[in-house]
Symmetry: D2
Subunit: 357 residues, 4 copies
Amino acid sequence: MNTFGNIFKLTSFGESHGKGVGGVIDGVPAGIEIDLDFIQNELNRRRPGQSVITSPRRESDEVVFFSGIYEGKTTGTSIGFTIFNENQHSSDYDNLKDIYRPSHADYTYQSKYEHRDHRGGGRSSARETISRVVAGAIAKLALNQMGIDIKAYTSQVGSVKLSRTYHDYNLSTIESNMVRCPDAVTAQQMIDLIHQVKSEGDTIGGVISCVISGVPVGLGSPAFGKLHAELGAAMLGINSVKGFEYGMGFEGVGLKGSEMNDSFYNNDGEIRTRTNHSGGIQGGISNGEDIYFRVAFKPIATLLRNVETVNKEGNEITLKARGRHDSCVLPRAVPIVEAMAAMVIFDHYLMNKLSKI
Amino acid sequence: MNTFGNIFKLTSFGESHGKGVGGVIDGVPAGIEIDLDFIQNELNRRRPGQSVITSPRRESDEVVFFSGIYEGKTTGTSIGFTIFNENQHSSDYDNLKDIYRPSHADYTYQSKYEHRDHRGGGRSSARETISRVVAGAIAKLALNQMGIDIKAYTSQVGSVKLSRTYHDYNLSTIESNMVRCPDAVTAQQMIDLIHQVKSEGDTIGGVISCVISGVPVGLGSPAFGKLHAELGAAMLGINSVKGFEYGMGFEGVGLKGSEMNDSFYNNDGEIRTRTNHSGGIQGGISNGEDIYFRVAFKPIATLLRNVETVNKEGNEITLKARGRHDSCVLPRAVPIVEAMAAMVIFDHYLMNKLSKI
Amino acid sequence: MNTFGNIFKLTSFGESHGKGVGGVIDGVPAGIEIDLDFIQNELNRRRPGQSVITSPRRESDEVVFFSGIYEGKTTGTSIGFTIFNENQHSSDYDNLKDIYRPSHADYTYQSKYEHRDHRGGGRSSARETISRVVAGAIAKLALNQMGIDIKAYTSQVGSVKLSRTYHDYNLSTIESNMVRCPDAVTAQQMIDLIHQVKSEGDTIGGVISCVISGVPVGLGSPAFGKLHAELGAAMLGINSVKGFEYGMGFEGVGLKGSEMNDSFYNNDGEIRTRTNHSGGIQGGISNGEDIYFRVAFKPIATLLRNVETVNKEGNEITLKARGRHDSCVLPRAVPIVEAMAAMVIFDHYLMNKLSKI
Amino acid sequence: MNTFGNIFKLTSFGESHGKGVGGVIDGVPAGIEIDLDFIQNELNRRRPGQSVITSPRRESDEVVFFSGIYEGKTTGTSIGFTIFNENQHSSDYDNLKDIYRPSHADYTYQSKYEHRDHRGGGRSSARETISRVVAGAIAKLALNQMGIDIKAYTSQVGSVKLSRTYHDYNLSTIESNMVRCPDAVTAQQMIDLIHQVKSEGDTIGGVISCVISGVPVGLGSPAFGKLHAELGAAMLGINSVKGFEYGMGFEGVGLKGSEMNDSFYNNDGEIRTRTNHSGGIQGGISNGEDIYFRVAFKPIATLLRNVETVNKEGNEITLKARGRHDSCVLPRAVPIVEAMAAMVIFDHYLMNKLSKI
């Protein structure tokens, strides 16, 4: 199951230490103007080595497009693309060939497939998300033309969290700090925490929040195509994600209906809601208000300290620390959250063209 | 988008006040033994009017199977089924024809389709979930043959919640109280809260927890078919759901990797984990431990009190309370959560047959 | 695999001797005006017992719609429908329970599923096509609004065939004779042949031709969504079909490119082709000319004479003639060919809305 | 619609003059042994420049695999691959930018997408079929392990055709002549005809026949997954194909049921049919006999002579002959027919694993 989307579809491929990662994007309408610099910039936001709090691996992650784009615009045919792998230290992983690292995919992949590429985590590597960023960037380019804007940001690292809602921050500032948090003071606390955790050879999780504005009324559909269910599946498919909530989310379970409901009113001829506890989606369909949601990331499983575990034969062994890894996935996951959101919104934008005869 | 599943697929139909609801289940292997009493009992658990804390509507919700079952066993062909609607008071809804109830699907459906069946919420009615219970019951029958068991329960209503993990309760007792909570004392507090909220013409939300045991190693797949993403999409597609988390979920974001990781050990030749913070899924694939997750339900939007809102023309109006509605969706949602989980697990059980040549 | 279509999708169910056949149609845009009499009339054209050359079984085949239609128009939600089975003589089939009739699906179904409903052919019965006619009728209603017209007709029965192309016949006359052939003299020869074959306890095949006019330029897509490939799959999925060709078809293999090519010319500002050997489709995409194709039907396998065959245990036995069957499937297959064509064209009409941003 | 298959799925990309063509193959079980030489050899059979009767273009068509294969075996993850384009003379096509060549996809693509890569036919180029050959070769490798063999051959070019059924030829000899016909004398006649047609600046069509042996009973499914419908869609999706028939095909329409039916008999405990007019498929499901079918190819539209046509503005113009093209597509289409057949059969082989619980 390497395809994501209904109409605008990404089919992805690639392992950490194979020749490259990439994919095919199908269902792309003709006529989208492609800004290659924008796409590369999105990849750069995801890239390791971009700051002192990310993995020191240096990968240029340059995308090569094979098809579907001609003279700067999409042609309506499928877009094939690849990012070649480089700077792989495959022999670093020789000692892991028959070892099951705790809370990694090693054991489940081996059990399921009986033959796997263990190097760098193989298909379970975070490199797999590169393809998502490429497809998401193309979706963003299309959405931007329509005035739809997607902004994700780090709202929590460990116990350090933003105390207010997104309205109180300037989300256009998130690129001004390494952790992609729209509050400079909190950002520094997060960075300090990451440094401290890293110095212990440990890792830490957090929450990414996302706001989508400018979405027209009508995206999403009843039953199994609810817009928030599609967003949720998209986010839960990102490595390390353990939870998703939109609108009031888990906090809303303690409210009464009279507190939770969003009243409609007539705003100069436009129907709007006075509050937005629904998170911009009602009955599974966008209502024109901001869509917002939160995504929980667990701490990365790879520690820079010795770990007790078992190998393929079931013998208990000690795994020595090595490799170049992030201590906190959040900063680099921000563009991935945005990319997945962009794919979902554009996919449903297209489907919504078919709702009426 | 009225189809759910990849191999074992439910395509559903039906509005609250049409002739009936139902669906077609495709991808059902031949040879599953069908216990019609079991299926009907699952429907009875979802049915309104089953207790004093649910809607007083009386609907028998008897399922009629048209095909795909012969002499007590599935034949491998598609299973068509219908539950006829009855006891509809369609004229109850005449006053709602052009009104947008707060936090309902009225406004978004009307905007999207420009023509809708407003009676009883139409396709956005909770009656839509009947089809899911039928398909889920068939999946359960298949899973039970393999020793896979799915148990959901109400773990929170408003601020009343269970304080311990599922290991500390006997989940086979949940049918012994109206609210489907495995702790009698907490159950009574939940029931009291629901009565109180109802007396105020208000509604209340809560959390349903679910545990799946006996799942073999290997269900789920990399990238876009992660087992928890499929479970999340399934749950988020249920009416009123606002959040989903599995394993340690949102709580895990505050942990360090060294606290979160589940150590492997050799348990008499079987590889197991000492803890199960991962919630039975690693790298998107089941690892043989219990799968557990939590689902957040908002309070029902329909209040039994007057409400200010707008109509189709944008005029502000007062909507008078009427109708027969639940004050808390949780008790009736327990079998729906189980049904959706069963469909996902059985679907992936089938897909996993194809993982190796 | 009981779903047909990409956007406009029919998921069908039903066996010959179960409670009924039916389906769910998804992807139907809101706002299509539904003429129930038209739909029923299409079913009547497919119904057995409609003339002396069809099976004498009397089935009313009345369709019941459960959902998706409100106040005479589609609502954009899925349309569930059922046609109840009646007039079944299930005991007629007791003798066939363990027998494999020649060139039927008995042996292959039994081998594949090991458990099957043998009565009336079960899922392989021609009753399965009822659902297609219903969905096709809804597609036709939508297409007719846009000026797209689909006409199928019997062009050959055994060796009796029409000698000229469709331009030379008035296709609106096909309902004026039992065999649905647009030439009265040939029609009578076909009817005579069917009577003769029937008197011998035998059956006969033939060819149905189909013409689709008014199709806009642009339906279909490159690679795997070529319009003729979708039409071909649709036709080959009808019981008894053994071949499909469009445009010049098999006859074109003997031509040279200079004879086959269709020259473009400017017809008062509209680009047209002088000939239409391509059959209205070039590069898999409609070019605005008439689409036409031919479908080969083999003779029905059920003979009204004794037949030598084997049973489940492999013993050779004699199967006595009985039952009420057609001697020639062609007349009743004409509306099925039209229905399948209508579904394909409407499906691609919808998809084509997504070709450009 | 650039994805083919249900479980074993190819998603393809690529234009004639872009950077390359390729695809992603998903649903590949782990453990298939990959013989890279075999795959390259299949590509060589499709390659232009392989003989004096094919296009003189020289393309090496070497496939690069990016993922999904490790240490010589598939890993169960998606297989990404690319064949870089080379030897393109893009400027050869400058004169065609705004011209609609007769019976090409120029006009329909331009109308549908309004922006297209015209060079070398863009996505409508026969280079698109390279990806199919790669995916088909992997399917063949899997099928060969199970004793399933697929052989296609040229049975007709223009009016030169084989006079007997496939039983009378040794199909393993087809690589011994340029035209891939299993009869040396007929092959020479075909080659002579192609030379003659080429000398006239013209082109010629023909028929490819295909035989699949060793298929187990049970592949295919009722309703919309009939094995022959899937094969038909596969073949009709190949460039230039105008018709498909299996078993007795169009010839069978003149037969009576008593002549057409295949009698079952007990062959030492195995149920077999005495004749095989059904072409190895009954009720849409393989019955263990040989599957055979025929595919009609029209003459290639590109002539090596001047042609009258229109340009984008609708002006009538003369198109001068140029370029390096085949005069007959048949010899190079043989491996494509085999590849598509292999994908269908392996896809259904996998699906059939799910038919029984």
